[in-house]
Amino acid sequence: MKKSIIVTLFLTLVICALPFVITPFVLFMLTEVLIMAIFALSLGLIMGYGGLQSLGHSAFFGIGAYTVAVLSEHVTSIYILIPAAIVISCLFALLTGLIAIRNKGIFFLMITLAFTQMLFLFFRQSDLWGGADGLGTSIKPNLGFTELGSPLSLFYLIAAFFVLTYFILRLFVNSPLGKGLKGVMENEGRMIALGYNVKKYQMIAYVVAGGLAGLAGGLYIFKTQFASPDLFSVHMATTVLIMVFIGGLGTLFGPVIGAGVFIFLQNYISTMTDRWSLIMGLLFIVIVLYNRGGIFQLVQLIGKKLLPKKNVFAHKKGGTTIELNESGKAE
């Protein structure tokens, strides 16, 4: 736990310092990165630690977004809006999870896809909440004592939620519960024989991931002020899936890097060419073919290559050795 606190504090410091060194445009982009990072973290949890391949994770993002967008006509306090987005996504995860978790592999994937498609079509074709046109809102995050209007304050608000999400998930994957979950992914039959209720582990992970994706969706509305049925689309689900893969499946911080790389490439390459997704596709293929652990593993490998030299250096100076912890940061 101590290690988790140190790493999280370090992360907080970095994020707090960022706005002082970047341009407003990059800040704008980073805000989106952090939202997508929360989303990708939640998918990374069930995929990389739970072994549950989902093609319907956008359902929770969309639900969180619509919850905030719809409720914002009546309330403005984020103390109601954000918890509402999380709770409703959790409930949806609980209901669909009861059916989806009974299946494995491709069948789990197809069922999650089916649920998401149902929501997509419902929000597009019904007359409720704007239908296919989507639902606009003029919501600004109301903290009770003040209303956040500037892009900078919004960045800090979202950063706070991001850091909190990272901290909770870090505790989760290192806790007995998280280790058990990983065991279920590695060998479900053996876990049953050892006396674990494996469905319970998968269910908990699925609901936690659903809630966090809902949180990301809710925060997304504060930034874009517009909820569209496209949030439920397969395109959205695959986008986050690609982020997780590019960053590194099975690592905690990987999806965060994936979200960052994806959005930066999207923004920068699209200024040069309309075919930016072609380049993203190439990157994706290279990673799937040659580096399944994603960018994160690549960084780790390079780090390990450099490590012995550093150790010798540290030894000469009589200093401490440098160790790579689970998230790959040197401590």
Binding site: M1, K3, S4, L171, F172, N174, S175, P176, L177, G178, K179, G180, K182, G183, E186, N187, G189, R190, M191, I192, A193, L194, G195, Y196, N197, V198, K200
Partner: protein, 251 residues
């Protein structure tokens, strides 16, 4: 009093009647070995006892209580554990990680969310003890997929013992082992304390006769005889079925 009693178990896979009124009784501390030719239904029998498979009729009693309807993951709490005929391990994890997963299943904090697993001292200590007892200390940080086959078989047994079972079901613990590995594993099995009752399937006759207190012979799904090793050795019908009836002797 018997620790475990299985009464007239029947199990079919579609048209094939695999177990026919299979019956067995285990006394506390006993080393009980099931033998029988290939296809006799031995593994099916173990799977039914452990709840991995459902059966049509009959009943399984543990300390006098029927456990027929208890799901297999809850049987560990009642003091049952099993190994598998084919290795069934966490191959991408290290030996140490395999063992702590097995120990963790018995801990009250196994669903704890906030504290890191590495901060629990008891699980660390018990893992070390287990490794020491089974002479695997130097393998702690080796990934299971990089172990030799024999070592993996031993790890199977270790994982099952981590839950401190009253009764341990071993499905061919020495299958596929080299002769020297078989000898080593047999010695380790003999060292399992008598507080653990063993029910074992085994083909290797040397292992059978050197470990068994009682032997049950399963033939075409029927438990045709249950007795001491001497009873079995002297029984002509068994000789005929097991060694002469066209079945291959694995020893």
């Amino acid at each position: 009093m018997s620790l475990m009693k299985v009464e007239k178990l029947n199990k079919s896979f579609k048209a094939i009647h695999v177990l026919k009124d299979a019956t067995i009784e285990l006394k506390p501390g006993e080393r009980h070995v099931i033998i029988g030719p290939n296809g006799a239904g031995k593994t099916t029998f173990i799977n039914c006892l452990y709840g991995t498979l459902k059966f049509e009729s009959g009943d399984v009693f543990l300390e006098g209580k029927s456990i027929k309807n208890i799901p297999s993951h809850e049987r560990v709490k009642l003091g049952m554990a099993r190994t598998f005929q084919k290795n069934n391990l966490f191959v991408d994890l290290t030996v140490g990680e395999n063992i702590y997963l097995a120990i963790l299943s018995e801990k009250p904090y196994k669903m704890n969310f906030f504290k890191s697993l590495s901060e629990y001292a008891d699980i660390k200590r018990e893992t070390e003890e287990m490794l020491l007892q089974w002479e695997m200390q130097d393998r702690k940080n080796v990934k299971v997929k990089n172990l030799s086959y024999g070592e993996q078989r031993v790890l199977e047994i270790m994982l099952a013992l981590c839950a401190n079972p009253k009764i341990l079901l071993l499905d061919e613990p020495t299958s596929g082992m080299s002769p020297s590995e078989t000898v080593r594993t047999t010695e380790l099995i003999k060292k399992i304390p008598r507080s653990v009752t063993l029910l074992m399937i085994e083909h290797d006759m040397e292992v059978v006769f050197s470990t068994a207190d009682r032997i049950t012979v399963l033939h075409h799904g029927e438990t045709i005889l249950s007795g001491t090793p001497e009873d079995v050795r002297g029984n002509e019908m068994i000789q005929e079925i097991y060694f002469g009836g066209g079945a291959r002797n694995h020893a």
